[in-house]
Symmetry: C5
Subunit: 353 residues, 5 copies
């Protein structure tokens, strides 16, 4: 949990705008790559300093600078200053505890979105990706590196490459779309886990089933908390009327927005399912208690009176005439059996058996 | 459940606009028909290619192209390109996991609605129907074929045929109306099932009654999730002020909107009923537990003291004067009876009997 | 329940605008009356056909056509066509499953409200009343006939008759006011029933008290569902700025609106009360269970050890020296009494007694 | 409860605008006083008829007419007609079941607020106070008389009397402020009662603690229902831009508005506290049940096996060799003790002891 | 709790605008300091009277007057009158039970925010800080003094001092930022406490764990109640378009706003966690009850029948042939063992073991 909810109170006291990476310690050395593309072709360069980027800018080409790992404070800082990015925006890029948000500036847009993953034990890990969208350049900052954006890179450098003809705003859309499609994968995983828990529940509910349901509910709360602000963010983007997002590409952003709505709908349905499962669990526990109490009550109610009678004829009074009757003992057994039968019949009528 | 909530994560990675049918596998070969009608008459043609449609267009006639089955990607794609439909819209038509939505374009409107059915085991199946409304043409896309729209077809080709005089927007309304009226049939079925469960509950609540209530609640959640977005969709349509929906026909769309509100009201009431039934079930379980405990307590409280006394006079001490009294044994029986009577009286006063 | 929530799925498939009475079968033959009034006097005529109405219209007089029973489809239909009423409105009048609503047309307003009654077993029955308000004529349609509007009729034909000077919009207000005042009567009946259930609950909670609370809660849900849309309806009416509602009469409609708000407030408070009562019931059941368990535990905990000891001295070992001690038996009784006293003291300290 | 929620269904059928006092029967004869004040001085007159007021009006002086008791229908009616007050407003003044509300007329404003008091048994009593604010006159109507407004009267007639220089709208503010400050007193009383109930709960929860919590929750619901509409009412007043409320005095009304928000915040927090206390109560009941069951189980589990063994050696078989062993009896006692010790150890390990 | 929710009903009756310090008694003598700074340097002066401030104002320098302790009514009052501050604002500064709020006046802005701290026992203490922002002066009023604003003071008087170049609105932002960053520290503390309670819960739930969860939930409610209004307050500030907040500094205020949203998100997630923990606790209690009942039922169900049989052969009938059979006793033991085995097998199959 430490990761999921903790807050950068460690930064309290520093002047705002101080560039320090706040977040889970980066497990990797930062690495930045530059895609320089025109409608016809796409070249890839490694980036080590600001100059690598500046020298490629202009000449009608579009640039995508992709930074993986946030320890390249030097590069991020100089890039930010060169591109006239507000110090607080740079701080937001480095401090990965931001809410998803959209901010509009004169010559660029700033977007923060969350990549959600869940590991084998169904714990959700979240990672922040920030986008800076200029007229001819998209800069993206991630905390880690993996293969999530490989399809984007392939399409960008591929043979057909319609993606190369639609501007950097379309590229930004592609990034967002990849991130949001990933939410569906997450929702699918959750749903499978819920189905497993559900069939466990129906077969044989146990405390550990309950724990699994609770854990899923908790991760669901976290996922919902992470994903919901994306809705407002994308709504803000659609309504911004920024010239940086071309009208032609607006339907694409509307499409991502629809996808986010659908993920949220799905998470809500899953939460309803989980709540229903908790009710089922608690009711099963109650029913089982009823079951146990019934067994106890039937045993006790039958044998306690019998034991009493046996106790009576175990008494040592001098004058107990029954003790000396010839057929007393078998008669008593018949009485025992009749009484037992009568009680069983009563319990049967009460539908306890 | 797999069907009801699963998501097209299988498409993740493909470029947007790629036309692939995503959804439950079509159980049928696609089939498209064309209704060409004027105020006076209506002709029906099978459609096998784009030309079948184009050749009929114009000359003051209105067209209704109805596609059943979504494996006709060729036809849908060429039709889309010819009519200037955005690639994402074509993708939404084929990917049947959309939320109900309304989108407005320059010369056409796009609507997605959900057809809901429930089978005998009360599982809700949902199917997507997409509408493309042009000035002189309505194109509808369904996943499967059944007799749902037969009345519409009959009215369109019927003798009187007022429907033929009111434009394709009225035809679109008729489609929507048929879909929404179907929701009432669904709500009726649900309500009957709830009444059955309720009378079961009042006669003799059992775990399986509880399971039925939970199942109904779950399907209700699903139905509500499917139907609610239709409200916004129809509101958007009414407010669009598109010239494609003639002012004269607006009251009809307002009427469908009212019907959707009423279905939602009904589902809400049914959900309240179900919640009340869950409370009743849980309270019945508690009451039955009380009942069981009372029986146990009464039996145990009466016989345990008696057994103790019988045990006392079963002891083998040399010096137990009572054992030798003449009337000791009958006296003890009288004491047993009095004690039992006293305890029964006590329990009576506590209203346990 | 069949009545309260069922839906006109029987109409599915018919073209919209088909005039069929949908609703609980009318227990009466339809009857229409016409009040023709000026500031000075009021005449009452029976209506059998459209001509009875048309012949009275005009000449500065105001008309109130009041239809009771909805089987006069002929009359309603011809009246509607003559007055230029939209076919869907006529359909809404006949189909009494409408939500309360307000619709504004060029020369008339259309209002649907619900009359709520509750019978002796506290089941709520609802009836629809539709109003068509023209500049000089008010037409009202009810499903049944009773004495609800008698005071209105009396005032209209009475000696003073200020009501005759304020226009048909004021008459429409009077109708609405009568309907809404009736809600207060309903709320009063509910409140009395709740108070009865509450005093039952405090004296001696029983499963049937619980059932009564649940039943009341259910009827409350229904009443709230029926009344709440009236709020929006009246708000729409106030904001319509229709010339058919004179500015002078607006405060009256605002007053009805306030009354509806108050009824809803009251129903909300009653629902809170009912929820509190359910909590009390469930907690009482728990407490009673505690009580029962305490009795069992006290009996069992005291007598089980004593019985064990009695059992020990009932054993038949050859060598049990205690059996032969002179004061063993009385000593044992003293021990029994001391042990019992000690356990009672313990339970006392645990506050179980 | 009769008082708190009952409704004026007794008025149903009367024409609107009929002036009848509806509400709890007035315990007092009505009494009206007139404060006539200028910046310099303040005179007080009793009022018996309309002329007493009219003769004092004008000449630059401001008037405050304060009516206590609502049986002066004659005076209220003539005053209303003279000042051009709408009949429905007069009706609202007399019918004390109004929601708090604000209505704006051409030359006066109408406000209804609620005075809340709670008696010793913490039952909330509410009283209505209506304000009619003219340019030079404030008329207030209360149901009863007490010392609530004495400080206002003192300040008005006091030596300094800044209050006399700020207009009748400031006087209206002072009245509202007094009423709202009284809510804080109510909230304080509730809070104390909650604290008492809480410490009872933590010391020793009992059914009567539960009843007290439920009662508090119920009164809280009532208080909230009464106070909340005041928020909208004051918002409406602030936004009315009526010339009757001078811009200079607006901050004062904003201040009262802030106070109402704070009272509502406080009531919400108290409700959260009460809900938490209910949870604690129910959980305590569960825990106590656990406690009881543990005692029973420990006693029964230890002594039932021992009793069985004692029973075995109380059997009368001819051939039971153990009975004749010399050390059998002491050995058995050692076994009894060991078995008891073993079971106690088991229960200890299960943390039941 | 007295502190957290109590209300200034003690002030009821005083005329508004009366300057009295209402709130927890100040533990300190008031102390005011004045920072006078330009881009180049910063001087600090103690303030004892109004003149100390007035003499430093002007000459292009910016002033920050920081008052700690609210017993300096004289100074606050004269400062307020000199700067044209509304009497109600002065009252709000002294009465520390205000809701966080933002008010805009012609030449100054007024802000109230809450500083939240929690002590070792996790009780939240809240303190009010009021800001008056003029064009060239910021006045802040706190109830107590501690080291919270030391970093601000250090930066203001530090060598670099970019803070000195951005205006007093930037200084106000710095104050707000410090306060809001402190909320994160609070949320961290809460989260740690919740984690501790959670691991307690998973290891061994006890009534005191439950009490800790309830206490945390209660403090969470308080914290949420205190922090939430800050959201509206900062929104109002951003939308005020006051010239006192320079456009250049708006991103900073937006940043604080984002932080407040994040804190609220976090508190919501923590509340969800706490609710989940309560569910877990209650379910654990139920499970443990099941456990206890199972042990009791197993012991009782096995030994009660055995004891009955032992009782039968302890009877003293003359004619009990079994007693004289040679192998009766060992046979009975075998029967005992078989019966026990059979019952254990049954319980095993019911998964009770």
């Amino acid at each position: 949990m430490a990761h999921s909810l903790s807050h950068p109170s460690e930064k309290a006291g520093l002047p705002p705008g101080t560039l320090v990476h706040v977040g889970p310690a980066p497990a990797m050395d930062g690495r930045a790559t530059l895609h320089r593309y025109t409608a016809d072709q796409c070249e890839i360069f490694p980036v080590t300093g600001l100059d690598d980027i500046l020298s490629q800018r202009g000449q009608g080409a579009l640039l995508w600078v992709h930074c993986e790992g946030l320890d390249m404070i030097e590069l991020i800082s100089s890039l930010g200053h060169h591109c006239n990015v507000h110090p607080l925006v740079l701080e937001d890029i480095l401090n990965t505890h931001q809410r998803p948000k959209f901010e509009q500036f004169d010559d660029h847009l700033f977007l923060v979105v969350k990549i959600l993953r869940c590991d084998n034990s169904l714990k959700i890990r979240h990672e922040q990706i920030s986008l800076l969208l200029f007229a001819d350049m998209l800069i993206t900052f991630r905390e880690t590196a993996d293969d999530l954006f490989n399809p984007v890179k392939l399409r960008l450098s591929g043979a057909k490459g319609r993606i190369r003809t639609l501007g950097v705003d379309y590229l930004a859309y592609t990034i967002l779309d990849t991130v949001v499609d990933n939410y569906f994968a997450l929702a699918d995983t959750m749903e499978e886990a819920i189905e497993t828990a559900e069939s466990d529940l129906l077969r044989r509910p146990q405390p550990k089933t309950f724990a699994a349901i609770q854990m899923l509910r908790r991760e669901m709360v976290l996922a919902r908390k992470m994903i919901t602000p994306q809705r407002e963010m994308l709504l803000g983007l659609q309504r911004s009327e920024s010239p940086l997002v071309k009208e032609r590409n607006l339907p694409y952003f509307r499409d991502v927005f629809d996808h986010v709505l659908r993920v949220i709908d799905t998470l809500d349905s899953l939460r309803d399912l989980l709540n229903g499962m908790l009710d089922i669990y608690l009711s099963t526990v109650s029913n089982r208690m009823n079951e146990i109490m019934k067994v106890l009550t039937i045993f006790a109610s039958i044998f306690i009176p019998l034991t009493f009678i046996a106790g009576v004829y175990g008494m040592n009074f001098d004058n107990m005439p029954e003790l000396h009757w010839r057929w007393a003992y078998p008669t008593l057994w018949i009485f025992f059996i009749l009484l037992t039968g009568f009680l069983l019949f009563l319990f049967k009528r009460k539908k306890w058996l």
